[in-house]
């Protein structure tokens, strides 16, 4: 698939992951997703932490038995030899408070660097995930460091044109510097607060109109505005918690609305068996 065309903190927010994790339907997808994490800006100074970067996301639902092996094979085909490098699955249980989602899994270490997040979804939007979606999130730039043998994002080769190298810095450094400045100092806090309220209102309105997918777009917008308020240090600890809960409430309502919409369609992508199991477990509506 293609990236979702909205600002988001991780590939998990793409509807092809978050929404598809909900309900009994089978689903497999792979896509690149540009991610924005305003608070991670370091003015382009940190060798491997940027406020804008790329993830390559793979989701498989139900997670296959050989999920880890498939992943390791993908590393091999990238040219990473697990008999040279120290590759390990280190416990890292993932939780997104704003999505009301959590899963168990690992960060995958290569020679001590986190190159991938590996998660078995257990809950999304407050709903139990069954079957379980397995999610693999590759850090594209970090993998590129290894493949190209350089130490710093800035020195990654983006492209070579007529023996002239265009580096990652050529493409993104100015963006990192300006965006860090924006995220930490310039983003208009007052406007952000009012945007948040408006996006929140839109989500509810769209849900009332029976449109979970457009509503989800507004959850994404609200979530990004929240991240900007956070990087501006505009939220006290208690207020921050309140905003997280507000976004989570939105995600939950969207998750439930999406589930019901798919149910109305008869969960077309579900296997017979799982559909029957899930329908059985649902409370009778009559």
């Amino acid at each position: 698939m293609q990236p979702y065309d909205m600002e988001m903190g991780a590939g998990t927010f793409h509807p092809a992951t978050f929404l598809r994790a909900i309900g009994p339907e089978s689903w497999q997808a792979a896509y690149v997703q540009p991610c924005r994490r305003p608070a991670d800006g370091r003015f382009g100074e940190n060798p491997n932490r940027y406020q804008y970067f790329y993830q390559f996301q793979v989701v498989m639902k139900p997670s296959p038995d050989n999920f880890q092996d498939l992943y390791l094979d993908s590393l091999r085909s990238l040219g990473i030899d697990p008999l040279v490098h120290d590759i390990r699955f280190v416990e890292d249980n993932w939780e997104s408070p704003t999505l009301g989602a959590w899963g168990l899994g690992w960060e995958v270490w290569m020679d001590g660097m986190e190159i991938t997040q590996f998660t078995y979804f257990q809950q999304a939007g407050g709903l139990e995930c069954y079957p379980v979606m397995g999610e693999i999130t590759y850090g594209v730039e970090r993998l590129a460091l290894y493949l190209q043998g350089v130490e710093d994002f800035r020195h990654l080769t983006w492209a070579t044109v007529e023996q002239q190298t265009v580096t990652y810095a050529d493409v993104f450094h100015q963006f990192e510097v300006e965006m860090s400045s924006f995220n930490f100092n310039e983003a208009n806090v007052e406007a952000l607060f009012s945007q948040f309220d408006s996006f929140e209102g839109e989500t509810s309105r769209l849900l009332d109109a029976g449109l979970p997918l457009p509503a989800y777009d507004y959850v994404l917008k609200a979530s990004h505005v929240f991240n900007l308020l956070d990087s501006r240090h505009a939220l006290s600890v208690t207020e921050r918690q309140r905003y997280i809960l507000r976004v989570r409430a939105l995600s939950r309502s969207v998750a439930i609305a999406y589930f019901n919409a798919r149910k109305k369609l008869g969960f077309p992508l579900a296997s017979e068996e799982t559909r029957a199991f899930v329908m059985e477990a649902l409370p009778d509506e009559s």
Partner: protein
């Protein structure tokens, strides 16, 4: 009877390293319990565990359960047969439940308590092959798992997805379906170095064949290997590695084939405080750090990899590439944090809630500040410094670095205070105000630091108890248990002369609605009793001191008394003293009404009365001459003869009310004298 070794191995995806050891020992314990419950005898057992497997070997496990004698008691004979001798419904029902067709074939049980119908049967024991699935599933189901997970489209739940199960009894496979896997004799080696299956003929091959497949299944062996390699690396750099059991256990749980490596980072990062470097290495990367002989940190790290690499330098280089952005980040945070002073950060604490009903951390900082000053004054140490440290001690909670490394709270506060040129005593008091951070951990040193550490804990305890959120069972979100014990240890082990009740009153005074302190006082005393129990001091000794007239509130003084009394109770005169005090106390228990205080010697009738009274006066005088507890104990022991004689010669409960009251007054005076030392009547002989 046949007995064979038994092996159970559960192959999984990578298990959580901090609970691996507990998972494997719990599987072992649960298996043993289940076997025992079913009567299967066995020999020694051993648990194994790596990131990808939990295993247990049980030696000489019996093939058969012993035969089981079953006896079920049915209705009483009276209820079993009607008057005309026909079986009642009760009897028929019972017979049916025992699958007996003719109820008259049931036996009878006659005891002196009555007569019953009884069903007896000897059931032959089952074989281990028959029982094993139930045993393993029960044992697995009872493993404590913080968060269970599901995977794929299965409903099975476990710590991590399960891929294989080995269940071998001697050379036989024991058939069982465990966590969705059918048992077999195939294990698997190291994920990369030996991905093939391992054919296990019998349990005794397990450790060796796994080793040949690059997996050291024995947790302790792996840990010892890592430890040995750490030592060698330290030697190579003429350095030492701070012992860190927790980290050692964690890395042991992260590898099947440990390889210890070391790399370096840019020396410019050594300008960041050591604590920050160590936390960055330890928490994010599970690295050990090294110090030179002067104790200075080396610009190196020590990592434990899980592979014998075809190119070890690639792994070292990779790790070096990771640590420097981590340290760059730490430097970034440190720089950010030092842009505003700690005093400014105190204002930001207005934004951080301590507890909804107790207000923000700013309010807490103000309370702790006042209280620390008052305690410092009681301890005759620097009040200004204590007040200052109390105010600043929580300010690092809003710093970026503590946000990143919560375990550095207090430590970072001290660094920032030093940066702001606060006096060294203030920095030190901030650094240690959370101390002791665990049972047996270090205490703050000196009166000033102690006063701040005590103030912080008293404030939390008084407040949380005040709003009725005292800890219950395992629920103790503010770790009040640790804080109460902290107060106890600081006061007693630092020999501080502090009155606990008085300190609690002062802590309570800091809150706008004063809180009652009795409950929290009782709680601290409970923790104190527990603390003494762990040191082998008897409960009744603590009660005896608690009920003495001084009670337990000056903890250091109480401590001296408790230890002397504990020693004295084995003294050859101890039992006399206890017996004497008991006689006095028992008499007084029988009377009520307002006590007469004045003693009229003219009402004495027996020689023993005058003698005892004289002895009391002498003892009181002796008491006023010595505060030595041991001497006082001996003075009291001397009273025993007088008391015995008194009880032999004198009938206290005289018919004459005046005489009776007078005698009771003597007894009271005697008891008061005892109570100055302890309530001996509570000591068990």
């Amino acid at each position: 009877m046949r007995a064979e070794d038994f092996l159970l191995e559960i192959g999984t995806e990578e298990l959580p390293p901090t609970s691996l050891h507990q998972l494997m020992t719990s599987l072992q314990d649960n298996l043993c319990q289940e076997l025992q419950q079913r009567g299967f005898v066995h020999g020694e057992t051993k648990a194994f565990g790596t990131p990808r497997r939990l295993a247990v070997i049980i030696k000489e496990l019996a093939q058969w359960q012993p035969d089981q004698k079953i006896e079920k008691r049915g209705p009483s004979l009276k209820a079993a047969y009607s008057d005309n001798g026909k079986p009642t419904k009760a009897l028929l029902g019972f017979a049916r439940s025992c699958q007996v067709e003719n109820p008259d074939t049931l036996e009878q049980l006659v005891t002196d308590k009555g007569e019953w119908v009884v069903y007896r049967e000897t059931r032959p024991g089952n074989s281990i092959a028959h029982e094993i699935e139930g045993i393993i599933n029960k044992a697995v189901g009872r493993i404590p798992i913080a968060r269970r997970m599901r995977w794929g489209a299965f409903r099975t739940e476990f710590v991590r997805p399960v891929h294989w199960v080995v269940a071998l009894y001697g050379t036989d496979i024991l058939d069982a379906n465990i966590l969705g896997q059918q048992s077999n004799r195939y294990s698997f080696g190291h994920r990369f170095m030996h991905p093939d299956e391992i054919h296990l003929a019998s349990p005794d091959q397990y450790v060796q064949l796994c080793r040949e497949a690059s997996v050291i299944v024995d947790f302790e062996e792996r840990r010892a290997l890592i430890n040995e390699d750490l030592k060698q690396i330290a030697e190579r750099f003429n350095a030492r590695i701070d012992p860190d059991q927790e980290l050692l256990d964690e890395v042991t749980s992260l590898v099947e084939w440990p390889v210890v490596l070391t790399g370096s980072f840019d020396e410019k990062y050594l300008k960041i405080p050591d604590d920050v470097l160590i936390s960055a290495m330890r928490k994010h990367q599970r690295y050990f750090h090294m110090r030179n002989q002067q104790g200075n940190l080396l610009a190196r790290f020590v990592a434990v990899a899980n592979i014998v690499s075809k190119d070890e330098s690639a792994i070292i280089q990779g790790n070096e590439r990771v640590i420097s952005p981590r340290l760059a980040d730490a430097a970034f945070f440190f720089h950010n944090d030092t842009r505003s002073s700690l005093a400014r950060k105190v204002e930001q604490l207005e934004q951080v809630v301590f507890q909804t009903r107790l207000g923000t951390y700013y309010k807490k900082a103000v309370r702790v500040s006042h209280l620390a000053g008052q305690i410092a004054s009681l301890l005759d140490t620097d009040v200004d410094c204590a007040t200052r440290a109390g105010l600043l001690c929580k300010a690092d909670l809003v710093s970026d670095l503590v946000g990143e490394f919560p375990d550095l709270q207090g430590v970072m506060g001290a660094h920032y205070a030093k940066w702001d040129n606060e006096p060294p005593e203030v920095c030190e008091a901030i650094r240690t105000h959370y101390y002791p951070t665990a049972a047996g951990a270090d205490l703050p040193v000196g009166k000033l630091s102690s006063s701040v550490a005590i103030a912080d804990k008293l404030d939390t305890l008084t407040g949380i108890f005040g709003i009725g959120q005292s800890p219950t069972g395992s629920r103790d979100p503010f770790s009040l248990r640790r804080q109460a014990l902290g107060i106890i240890r600081i006061i007693i082990e630092n020999s501080l002369e502090l009155d606990l009740q008085d300190c609690l009153e002062k802590a309570s005074d800091q809150y706008p609605s004063r809180f009652d302190i009795q409950e929290v006082y009782q709680y601290i005393i409970e923790r104190l009793t527990h603390w003494y129990q762990e040191q082998g001091i008897d409960n009744d000794v603590i009660s005896a001191i608690l009920r003495s007239s001084a009670g337990i509130t000056d903890l250091s003084e109480a401590d001296r008394r408790i230890r002397k009394l504990q020693a004295f109770r084995h003294h050859d005169r101890a039992s006399d003293l206890v017996a004497a005090h008991k006689r006095v106390a028992n008499i007084l228990k029988q009377v009520s009404g307002p006590p007469q205080v004045e003693i009229d010697t003219r009402l004495f009738e027996h020689e023993a009365e005058g003698e005892l009274f004289q002895a009391i006066i002498l003892a009181e005088k002796a008491f006023s001459n010595t505060i030595d507890y041991q001497e006082r104990l001996l003075i009291l022991a001397d009273q025993q003869n007088h008391i015995d004689r008194y009880f032999d010669d004198v009938l206290i409960m005289s018919e004459n009310a005046d005489i009776r009251q007078n005698r009771l007054a003597v007894m009271r005076r005697m008891r008061q004298l005892f109570l100055l030392v302890a309530d001996f009547s509570l000591l068990q002989n």
